[in-house]
């Protein structure tokens, strides 16, 4: 299988008044096509910078970002993005919000086809009947569902998510996790999920990458194929618990609270 995302030796620093602030240092990440990769790490370790680099919104100081065998130098329409803040446009209906990327990305769909596509996605995430509502009329979880629909409506190869469920309550979050599995089954895409929630990373991802503290580099890669199960119970299996333990330890190492020894 080829790698859809290849991050090769990326180093990046922000310019501040007190000199350069390095956030990423010689970072290497590869995500095979169709895989779902979660990135976890201590706060402020440069995870959001990573999403902007992959999306082509920023250029790294050193190193290269490759998507689909092409070097990323500017934004490309084969990428979809979702943030912690659903950033829906308040003046548009939910349906028109989901349609937004199709107004920008060149495509050959008719108006009818676009609408059908958006309606199908909304139904898939459980927002049937809310197409004509405004974002202000929806709950936080529903808005995030609509935001997810918008991020994949143009069938991107890569979906980049920056803590998309971070602002939701625990139960809504679990609902959204299951929605993610449903979306992946219907809409194949390669995903990068930035998260603070280890359980979320283990439940959703195929591999979890632990970043070190700032400046961040790849500290640990954990393979988490949880026997292909997508029900929530899988989080409570011994297999998942072991992985969570290892990840927990790696985070503590990244935070500088534990020595890096084999458990």
């Amino acid at each position: 299988m080829t790698n859809l995302i290849d991050i090769k030796g990326v180093t990046h620093a922000y310019k501040t008044e007190n000199g350069p602030l390095p956030v990423l240092e010689n970072l290497n990440i590869s995500v095979p096509e169709g895989d779902f990769c979660a990135v976890v790490g201590p706060s402020g370790c440069g995870k959001s910078t990573l999403t902007r680099l992959i999306a082509g919104l920023m250029k790294p100081d050193e190193g290269e970002v490759w998507l689909h065998g092409e070097r990323v130098t500017s934004p490309r329409s084969t990428v979809g993005m979702a943030f912690q803040n659903p950033v829906l446009l308040e003046w548009r209906t939910i349906l028109d919000n989901v349609l937004l990327p199709l107004e920008i990305v060149p495509n050959s769909m008719s108006k009818r086809q676009k609408q059908d596509r958006a309606r199908d996605l909304l139904a898939l995430v459980g927002l049937e009947g809310f197409e004509d509502k405004r974002p202000s009329e929806l709950s936080g979880g529903m808005r995030q569902r609509a935001s997810l629909c918008r991020s994949i409506v143009h069938k991107p190869d890569v979906l980049i998510m920056d803590e998309p469920f971070g602002a939701l309550d625990a139960f809504t979050r679990e609902d959204l996790w299951q929605t993610m599995h449903r979306l992946r089954a219907e809409e194949p895409f390669t995903g990068v999920l930035i998260t603070h929630d280890l359980r979320e990373s283990v439940y959703l991802a195929d591999e979890v990458i632990v970043l070190s503290g700032r400046p961040a580099t790849t500290q640990h890669v954990e393979n988490v194929k949880l026997s292909g199960r997508t029900d929530l119970e899988v989080i409570y299996t011994q297999e998942a618990t072991d992985i969570l333990h290892r990840l927990r330890h790696q985070i503590e190492v990244a935070q500088g609270r534990a020595p890096e020894v084999a458990q």
Binding site: A55, F83, I104
Partner: protein
């Protein structure tokens, strides 16, 4: 709120205000050269209704044109300041300084520079006094746009123009209309400054002046109320436009 209530509430408030005014004048036994009462105004309107129509129209169209220029120019300045930090730093002190100058002192200067160009001068003052709130509102609206909104479109390869048209502009509309409501009343002040400080025989300001010269105090008060009326009409036109273009920003009251 029910539909009839939307009309009835402000109407009742106006009637209450007029009744209070009438009462104050009656209670203090003020002669009409001190303070005319609403009942004095009716004969004034009856006597000069044709002048009110002619001068009122002159004031109205010049105010509206001044306001339109203020919207165009104010939005442009606001866009420049909203998109560029350097321009914001450069222009703010100039704008604040310019706005702090009393426009009554600018009127003679303008009247001298463009001597005899009465319509142009009046429009110019109406514009000068009313564009500032619009510039500030647009610049704040644009500069406070959350970066995620921009990223959503930028990551799809949208141009700057598309981002402005699809996100920045509609998101700024509620602030813009808020400022426009302030500017409407300011523009009337500007028009009348020119009409009163540099009399040239046009507009309600001129009618006010002739009331003063002839010691016709009810006429002077009648002009003030006519101006208030025009201001209210223009305000409600702005409210109607706001409903059409930025109605989404209104939340149902809890």
């Amino acid at each position: 709120m029910k539909h009839w209530k939307k009309v009835a509430t402000p109407t009742l408030a106006i009637i209450a205000f007029l009744a209070f005014w009438e009462f104050i004048v009656w209670f203090n036994n003020w002669p009409n050269y001190k303070m005319a009462s609403p009942s004095d105004l009716i004969p004034a309107y009856g006597k000069y209704w044709n002048l009110f129509l002619i001068y009122g129209w002159q004031t109205l169209w010049r105010t509206v044109v001044g306001l339109i220029v203020a919207v165009i120019f104010g939005t442009l300045i606001g866009m420049i300041m909203g998109f560029s930090r350097a321009m914001r730093d450069a222009l703010y002190p100039l704008l604040v300084g310019f706005n702090a100058i009393p426009k009554a002192t600018v009127v003679p200067v303008i009247a001298l520079i463009f001597i005899g160009q009465h319509d142009f001068n009046t429009i110019l003052i109406a514009f000068m006094i009313s564009f500032f709130p619009i510039s500030v509102a647009v610049s704040i609206g644009l500069s406070t746009l959350e970066p995620e909104y921009r990223d959503i479109l930028r990551s799809l390869g949208a141009s700057k123009w598309t981002i402005f048209w699809k996100i920045a502009l509609p998101k700024t509309l509620p602030e813009f209309f808020g400022a426009l409501k302030v500017s409407v009343t300011l523009a009337f002040i500007g028009t009348n400054l020119m009409e009163i400080v540099e009399p040239h025989g046009r507009g309600l300001g001129h009618l006010f002046d002739s009331g003063k010269i002839n010691a016709d105090y009810p006429l002077m008060f009648a002009v003030l109320i006519a101006l208030a009326f025009l201001g209210i009409v223009l305000y409600y036109i702005v409210v109607a436009l706001e409903k059409i273009f930025a109605g989404w920003a209104e939340r149902p009251q809890g």
